[in-house]
């Protein structure tokens, strides 16, 4: 019995793929590097570390959903555009109505765009890359026109406390939103049938269909999830910044996808990791933070980020194609 148990452990260890852990190694490496070089600039300070968590929360929330989207073999380019529109709608509705109604409206925008994306992809059998490229344009345009490029302020203190700057003891409330999204996402992805079906659809839609999985329902669901996550991210931005503007989420699409892919999710479907996406998201946030502390200008930051991203992808994804 003991021998067979040991054999089982050995086979399981052999199945562990080293590249799955590269993201953790890269994370630690960069963390130690910043800790050593930026010690005097307060990188390791309590406030700074919590700031990284606070700033990455919307990215983390979206990254969790994008793990499902990419694992299912789809992509959602409208993510960042939905952030802007959802945020503006939330802030705008809150000016004349209750916060609850505003939140519902904001989430409704995200879910609505997700449903439309999903229906075009499933009912008309179109590639999600093109469908969401188009919806990204439409949503961005609507976001810019409804407020005439004006920012909208939010004064509801309770809303700001819950979704933004509030704390629970010493821990920022935003950390709980990120944690909640990750725990729920990881559970559904790894331990529920839905997660298994998402991965199967992305791996081989043909095999999934032959096995009786309702492939189109799964696809529709990941787009709704994606839209809803962008809306939640928008609400969290609106809470933290106490207002919304059409520029929110502009840079987020690529950051989110980078975080997810570095975290071990396959860009072409069939494999994913929510925990990896969390670490990827924190890694991206830490990079920005460290580079700012280093005193790099925003243009220099972009260059450094690109180089590091290339490095990280080379380490995590090398040799995976064609397998």
């Amino acid at each position: 019995m003991a021998a067979s148990k040991r054999a089982e452990v050995v086979t399981r260890l052999r199945e562990v793929e080293p590249r799955r852990f590269v993201v953790y190694a890269v994370f630690l490496l960069i963390f130690v590097f910043f800790a050593a070089t930026l010690h005097d600039d307060g990188f390791l300070s309590h406030t700074n570390l919590l700031n990284i968590v606070r700033q990455t929360t919307p990215i983390t929330v979206m990254a969790v959903a994008v793990v499902f989207v990419l694992s299912a073999g789809e992509i959602d380019l409208s993510l960042g555009a939905v952030v802007a529109l959802s945020a503006l709608v939330t802030a705008d509705v809150m000016q004349s109505h209750s916060a609850v109604l505003a939140i519902a409206a904001g989430l409704g925008v995200g879910i609505g765009v997700g449903v439309v994306n999903g229906l075009f992809v499933t009912a008309l059998v179109l590639p999600s890359f093109l469908v969401t490229l188009a919806s990204m344009g439409i949503v961005t345009g609507v976001a810019r026109s409804i407020t005439d490029l004006q920012a909208v302020a939010v004064v509801n203190q309770r809303f700001v406390d819950i979704f933004g700057s509030g704390n629970l003891g010493p821990i920022p409330g935003l950390a709980f939103w990120a944690l909640g999204a990750v725990v729920l996402g990881h559970f559904v992805f790894r331990y529920r049938r839905f997660g298994a079906h998402v991965v199967a659809v992305g791996d081989s839609a043909r095999a999934a269909r032959a096995a009786g999985i309702r492939v189109d329902r799964v696809r529709l669901a990941v787009f709704v999830l994606s839209g809803a996550s962008a809306a939640l991210a928008a609400i969290l931005y609106t809470g933290r910044l106490q207002g919304a503007s059409y520029t929110l989420g502009e840079q987020d699409l690529l950051t989110v996808i980078a975080a997810v892919v570095i975290g071990g999710t396959r860009l072409f479907g069939g494999e994913g990791s929510v925990i990896g996406a969390l670490v990827g998201s924190l890694l991206m946030g830490m990079l920005t933070n460290g580079l700012i502390l280093w005193g790099l200008t925003s243009s220099e930051q972009l260059i450094a980020q690109g180089v590091l991203l290339l490095l990280a992808i080379s380490l995590t994804l090398r040799g995976r194609r064609g397998r």
């Binding site: 199945e15 199967a200 009786g212």
Partner: protein, 242 residues
Amino acid sequence: MPLVRVEHLRKEFGAVVAVDGMTLDADGGEVVALVGDNGAGKSTVVNCLAGVYPPTSGRILLDGATVQFPHPLEARRQGIEAVFQDLALADLQPVYMNMFLGRELVRGPLRRLDRETMSAETQRLLDDLDVRIDSPRKTIRDLSGGQRQAVAIARAVHWAQRLVLMDEPTASLGVAETQRVEELIRRLRDRGTAILLISHSLDQVFGLADRICVLRRGKQVGIRTAAQTTGEEIVAMITGLV
């Protein structure tokens, strides 16, 4: 009463008649081969029985009762499983997930996937069928062609109550692997399942089948008992040079 009966099965795709009136019985513990040239309509018959397409006319009877399959799930619910030519496996997933794809086991109030039980049951099934795979947790892409074929067949065996459809189960395999798969088909037959086998290899057909049904351009040319016919006769029936 035959376990499975196909009666006057006809399938049209627009103006093309893929299968034109086929009638065939299969009993438990029997291997019936379906042979014919390319485009003879063999795969169409398999797809009708698996619930992939509805027949244009004709009936399918299970234990004497007429059934209809509006969706592949319904065929599976009635105990019919198919091993398709492309195997329909998800390559990046472990063997046990493929075995339970779409019918995953869950446990507890949170309905968590029961990976341990699925893995253990897969191991038992593979042992049962004498399929050699290191671990049910291996991913499909790490298996050989023969092992993949064995997984697809084992899955069909596990779920099929009545009939297993096999479309060219050894087309892509080497000699040794083909022998193992043929051995697997024999063991499956001995368990009392009806098997409908499509194969291009007449050697294989004569080695495995009890009866042989020949199709030519969608029409049923005839059914022969394997022990009472010859390769020459079957070839003549396939090519129409009778």
